[in-house]
Structures are given as C-alpha cells and as structure tokens.
C-alpha cells in the first residue's frame, strides 16, 4: 500500500470511528405527531406549575436525576453524583459540566438554586412547593458544579423528588428568566432537554425541535408536534389516516386499533385498580356515617362486609373482558404495591372469586338479605387514567349479581376530589387507578393518612402510626421492610379492594418506534421522547 493510500485509509478509519462514537446514528430526522387527550393548562412557567401543566413540554427540560429504565433507581441526569451526609441533613449534588440551555447560556449550580426559588413563588402551584417548604432549609451554591440542599431534618424522600416526572422539578435558566421576564419565560420555555420549544398555538398544538447538542446525544426525531385531541374515537381515526403517529387509547379501542393494522404499545402494570370503600373515616369526622356497612363501629362486622365485597368480584374476568387482557391479577393483593418495587410482598394472596362465600359473609355480618345494602358506585373517569370508569361499572355489575342494591352515578372529577378532601363521601365506592410511586409510602402518606389534606382510601390510627414510622426511617432497607408490613396490614384489614394491575395503552402508526419506554413510575408521562423515531 502506498503511503498516500495509507494516509487516506487512516483518515477514513478515523472519520468512521469518530462518527460511530458520537452517539447518534445520524442527524435527527422526521416529524412525529403525538395526539394527547389534552395539552393541559398550556402555561409553561415551570417549576412554578404542577406536573399536569407540563405534559406537552416535558422534553424541553432535564431534571437533576433520571430513573434508570431497567431498575427504576436514581440515575445521573443533570447531576452526576449525589451524596447524603452522615446526619442525613445535607444532600450534595455534583453537576454535569458543559451543559448548555437552549438559548446558549451555561448550566450552573445557580440555575438549580434559581429553580428552587421559582418553585417557591407565592403563586406557585408546583408539586415541589410543599416538599420544599416542609423539608428544605436552604439551597447553597458551593461552586458552579456543586449545589447543596440543607434539609430541616434528616430526609430521604427529597432525592426521589428530583427524578424525572413525576413529580416535576425541571431546571430552568436564571439568565433567561432575568433577560425575558416571568411571563415570557412561561410562554417560551427554555431548558436543557432533548427538544427545544419552537411554537405553541393555544388549544391546538406545541411544536418542538431536536436539540442536537443534548448532553445524552442528539435525539432521533427532528420535530415533535404534540396535539390536544379530547375525543378518543377521533384519536384512533387520526391514527388511521396517518395524521398522528402516537396516541393514548383505552382498552375498548383495541379491537379497532388491531384491525386497522396499527401498533399497540403497552406500558405494563402502570397502575393498580383499587376499589375505594369511602366512609372509613375517623369517628369524630363530620362526614362519618356509622350506618355505612363497611365502616360501621363494629370492626369485625365491617371487615366481613369488606371481605365479602372483595370475594364477589371476578378479577380475572375484569382483566380479560374489560381490560382486554392488558392487565395482571397475580400479585396485585398489596395496595399501592407493585412487583419489583419496594415494599412488594409476593406472599400476599389475591382474593378468589367466590360469590357464594361472599353472600355467607354478608349474612354473618348481619345482612342475610343483600338487597338491604345500598351502595353508590361512582364511575367518574380519572382525569389522566380513565380506564377506572369501565372497571367501576364491572364491579357494580358483580355486586348487583349477588343481590346488593347498587346505584350508579358519575360526578365531575373535581367535585369528587373535593368531597374526598372534605371527607364527605361516606357510602360511595369508586375505583381509583393508583400509579406506582418510587416508594409506596410516598403515595400513602398523602392519600391514606388522617392528617393529609386528600383522602382516597381510609383513615385508621394504626395505619397512621405505621406511615409515620416509615416516613421517619432513614435506613432504606428498614424502610422497605416497614412498607411490606404496611401492605400486609392493609391486606389483612382489607381497607380497600385491589383488583388488578392495568397497563397504559398507546396506539401508534406501524413505523413508529419508541426504543426506550418510560418505566412504571413515570405514569405514562412523555419521558424518553428522545428515543422515539419513525422507521423507514
């Protein structure tokens, strides 16, 4: 080989090697149109807004940490290292150097501190506001790549709050806010994420464009357009005509999706369908009604009623017929427990389907004639995970079949939540599609705790004690054991009736690919958008 040829070969190899190691296979290309059921509040002043607001602009931002797609455990994001001090009162984060915001400014620890301050604005409705107010003493910028969170007392939960949505603590640029002001920053968000914000048409769509300099590597698709399409049947039609490439669908649309030759993307076991038997309040609550069969003062009888109600439900049939197989019954006995997650106890057994025994238990509890039991089943669809509605109607059917007098109703979702907060739902039953949390206690402590603002399932002093103990336990292993114990207690006392895990379903055009599906805890939010692309 001549020296010239050798040199050419060398250059060739070098070029090939460098391009192969740049991470991206090629420049981003293609347009992906996503049809969500709503664009949310279309106000992008994060992090002063809750995660529900930010649905369409999640790809614009990064959080301090990410969730490892396989283990769900904290993984590096904008922070490369994190450490808790021995006394548990300090969290130190080492930040990734060389990251730039979409407007060109550098990402530093100042931005982390600034984001914290934004979340604490007086008009902030952020998920993080309460967390920061209650847990964090102050945030200190030690150096451009090191930030320290000083906690009020030892706290383990804060780390989970910095993971990818949910909740949502995106890092915003102080320089950008200073330059354009609050309003503009909320209208044209600037972050460090895989996609840049390009355009927003109120009520119609949001347009994002690839950030080729993203620290994790350029995303695959060049343009992402997110549209708000409220009607599910319309979303499916749009998929069929090719006007959109991805949309969330319910299980009843599956038949149509399949016959149209579209792709089905399953996020497995994303939520747990739990039947909430409302009325199990502390006896001194104004809304407590001792006549509610499953919340009566005679604890033994109340338990029998709850068990009976559980035995009357054919869980597998619900999964097969209502969820079209997109769910799992096995292992779903622990409320708020998900397989592979902390606190999961595989030894907890799911109640069998035994309507005869159910009737017997009801008789033992003093209801030989089930028609004397009056239950209001509320099948209001959840705002983000509406599958619960069909499950509720199925539950109503099973209870009717054993003779109970079931009345059905739907309310307005906000109203239902409001009444739950006020503890005024005694005698009502509804099915809550609870999502997975990094640790179950994070959810239970907010919705099944007597001192919490919201009340979803029940209030019991013993449960309160368990939750308080768990929350103040700094050692992870001990904490996970406590959560197993809590799941067991709830299972034995049947305070709510878990039915099954349910998948979140997306329908997509045949060429659509999403190589790294967001994990369970991400509740179906648009994470890992950078791994979406359209095959040739």
């Amino acid at each position: 080989m001549t020296s010239i040829m050798k040199r050419i070969l060398l250059i060739f190899c070098a070029a090939w090697l460098t391009s192969a190691s740049s991470g991206a296979l090629a420049a981003p290309e293609g347009t992906i149109v996503i049809g969500l059921s709503s664009l949310g509040a279309e106000d992008w002043l994060v992090p002063a807004r809750p995660q529900a607001n930010a649905i369409a602009i999640i790809p614009v931002f990064d959080t301090l940490l990410q969730r490892d797609d396989k283990t769900g455990q904290p993984a590096p994001g904008l922070a490369t290292k994190w450490e808790q001090s021995k006394d548990g009162k300090t969290w130190t984060f080492d930040l990734r150097p060389g990251v730039k915001f979409h407007d060109g400014s550098d990402f530093t620890a100042e931005d982390v501190k600034f984001s914290y301050e934004v979340a604490l604005r007086p008009d902030s409705t952020s998920d993080m506001k309460g967390v920061f107010t209650n847990f964090v003493q102050s945030v200190e910028v030690v150096s451009p790549t090191r930030v320290v969170f000083h906690m009020k007392q030892p706290n383990w939960e804060i780390l989970y709050k910095f993971l990818e949505v949910p909740p949502f603590f995106p890092i915003v640029s102080k320089k950008y806010f200073d330059k354009v002001g609050w309003q503009e920053a909320g209208r044209k968000p600037v972050g460090t994420g895989p996609y840049k914000f390009v355009e927003h048409k109120l009520g119609e769509y949001v347009k994002l464009e690839a950030n080729e300099n993203w620290w994790k590597g350029a995303p695959r698709a060049k343009t992402i357009i997110i549209r708000g399409i409220p009607e599910e049947a319309t979303r499916v039609a749009l998929l069929q005509t090719g006007e959109i490439n991805l949309a969330p669908v319910g299980s009843d649309s599956l038949a149509k999706v399949k016959s149209a030759g579209l792709k089905i993307i399953r996020m497995q076991n994303l939520m747990q369908m739990v039947v909430g038997l409302e009325g199990q309040y502390l006896p001194d609550r104004e809304g407590y009604d001792p006549k509610v069969p499953w919340a009566q003062p005679d604890k033994a009888k109340a338990l029998k009623v709850r068990q009976a109600l559980s035995l009357a439900i054919n869980r597998q049939e619900i999964v097969n017929k209502v969820l079209q197989g997109m769910g799992t019954v096995e292992g779903s006995a622990g409320i708020q427990s998900f397989p592979g997650m902390p606190g999961f106890d595989p030894s907890l057994k799911v109640d069998p389907y035994d309507p005869e025994r159910a009737k017997k238990l009801l008789a033992e509890a003093g209801y030989p004639d089930p028609s004397k039991i009056s239950i209001i089943v509320d099948s209001t669809p959840h705002a983000a995970r509406p599958t619960n509605s069909a499950v509720a109607q199925a539950v109503a059917l099973y209870w009717r079949n054993i003779g109970i007098d079931v009345k059905e109703r739907t309310s307005d979702y906000a109203n239902l939540m409001d009444q739950g907060i006020k503890r005024k739902l005694a005698g009502v039953v509804w099915v809550y599609p609870t999502p997975a949390f990094d640790e179950p206690v994070m959810q239970l402590y907010t919705v099944t705790y007597s001192k919490a603002r919201t009340q979803l399932f029940a209030e019991y002093p013993e449960l309160d004690a368990l939750l308080e103990k768990t929350v103040s336990e700094m050692d992870q292993n001990k904490r996970w054991e406590l959560q197993k114990e809590t799941a067991k207690w709830m299972n034995e006392h049947e305070i709510a009736i878990p039915i099954c895990y349910a998948d979140m379903l997306w329908a997509a055009s045949p060429k659509f690919e999403w190589t790294s599906l967001p994990g369970q805890v991400t509740v179906g939010y648009l994470n890992n958008v950078d791994t979406m692309y359209l095959a040739k």
């Binding site: 038949a255 017929k321 059917l397 079949n401 307005d412």
Partner: protein, 294 residues
Amino acid sequence: MSEIAIAAEAPARIFRRRRIGLVPWLPAVVLVTLIAVGVLAPLIAPYPPLQGSLGDKLLPPAWLAGGSWSHPLGTDLLGRDILSRVFYGARTSLGVAALAVLVSGTIGTTIGLIAGYFGGTLDAFLMRLTDVALSLPLILVAIVLVAALGASFANVVLVIVLLLWPRYARQIRGETLALRERDFVALARIANCSHFRIIRRHILPNVVPTLLVLVTLQSGYVVLLESTLSFLGAGIPPSTPAWGLMISEGRTVIETAWWVVVWPGLAIVALVLSGNLLGDWLRDRLDPTLSRTR
C-alpha cells in the same frame, strides 16, 4: 271576480290532491307503539335492564356469526341484552322528554301568556329574563347542577327544563300578542271580564294548538339533549337504560360493535321522525297562517 278566485285557488287544490295519506296515521302509530313499549317494558322485555355478565360482552345480533337468539339484538359493553334495554330505554327517554316538556311547557306558557297579554314593562322584563335564560350555555347549566345536586334523572330533567322554557315562552308570547288584538278579546274586555278570565277562556284555548305543535316538534330535540348531556358527562347516571346514554357509551365501538349504537339510534330516529311529521301535520291542519317558529 269568480274567475280570478278560481285561478288563485287552482294551484292549492292541485297540491291537496297529491298529498300522501300516510300522515298522520303512520307517525301516530309509531309514537303510540313507542309509548306502549315503554309502559309495558317489564312485561315484554326478556331480561331486566341491569342484568348482564362480562362473559357475554359485545355479542353480535342473532343473525350474525357469534350471535344467538337469546340476545336477538346483541349485547353491550357489560354483556347486557340490548333489546331489553331499548324497551326500558323507552321509559327513561320518553319519561325524561315528557316530564321536561310538561314542566317547561307549563312554565313557558304561563310566562308567555302574561308577557304577551299585559305587555309593557312586564313584557319587557319577562322577555329579558328569557334572554338571560337563553344566553346561558347548556354546559354551564348542566355542570353547575351536577356539581350542586349530583347527576340524576331529576337533574337531567331540570337542565332540559331550564333550556326549554324560554323557547316556549317566546313562542306563546308571540301568539298572545297577536290574539290580544282580536275582536273577541276586545268584546270580552268591554263585557268587563277579568284579565285572568280572558286569558283562561279566550286566549289559552287558542294558544294550545301552537303548544301542541311545539311539543311534538321538540320531542326529538329533548331526547337528543339527553344524549348530548351524557356525552358531556352531565347526563343520566351510567347503566340506566336510556337511548341517548346507550349511544354515548357505545361510541368507542361504533365500528367494531355497531349494534350497541344503532338500535337505540333507530329508536330515537323513529321518535323524532314521527314527532316531527305529526307536528307538521298538526300545524298544517290547525292554522297554516299561525306565526312561525322564531
């Protein structure tokens, strides 16, 4: 004079000869059948309307593959028999319609009569009240009521009443205004009849035909309102057999399980059609020079 009269009359006579003889008998029969079905539902329906089994979910009608004669029209999303639910649905849907129309008709007629008869400030006040009522959007009214009173049969009736009464009031007022100027009313006033008596004995009977026409024409609209309210989530409680609700609940399976939507849909079409044809016929018969819908 007579030739001119004949020439002018001739076209009208030709029209009358070609009129189809089906009206009003066919629509009347259909309406009566629908009402009878609703009344007799517990006797003629093969199943109770709420009974179902997930195992029988979405069975097609008997003459298609997979169907059976135990469920001649097929089953819905919860495995309930559609034929029975259509029968019982007549009760709910017609009941809602009848009740809503009755209440709003009464309120609307009363207000319309008073406004049209007395005129002046009272009339202006009542008409502006009607304006206010008409300018409140359906959804606001529906959701406020759901939030305040919860979704129920009574609630749906209330929403429809709130929507309908202004329309009746308007129409009746127009009629009353015209009637007020007629001779027999002037004569009654000269004879010192009280206002109330005049309204009751002279005006009301003449207004009734218009009312009847409105009622029959509106019947379909009311049943469709029930459907729209269900679609918006502010309607009759789920699982209630009601035609509008059945259509709304079945809209995700329009293509794959058409029977869930088509049977109740046909029932509504039958109701609306017969109501309209009957209403038109009534209006043509009673007084073709009555002032029209406004």
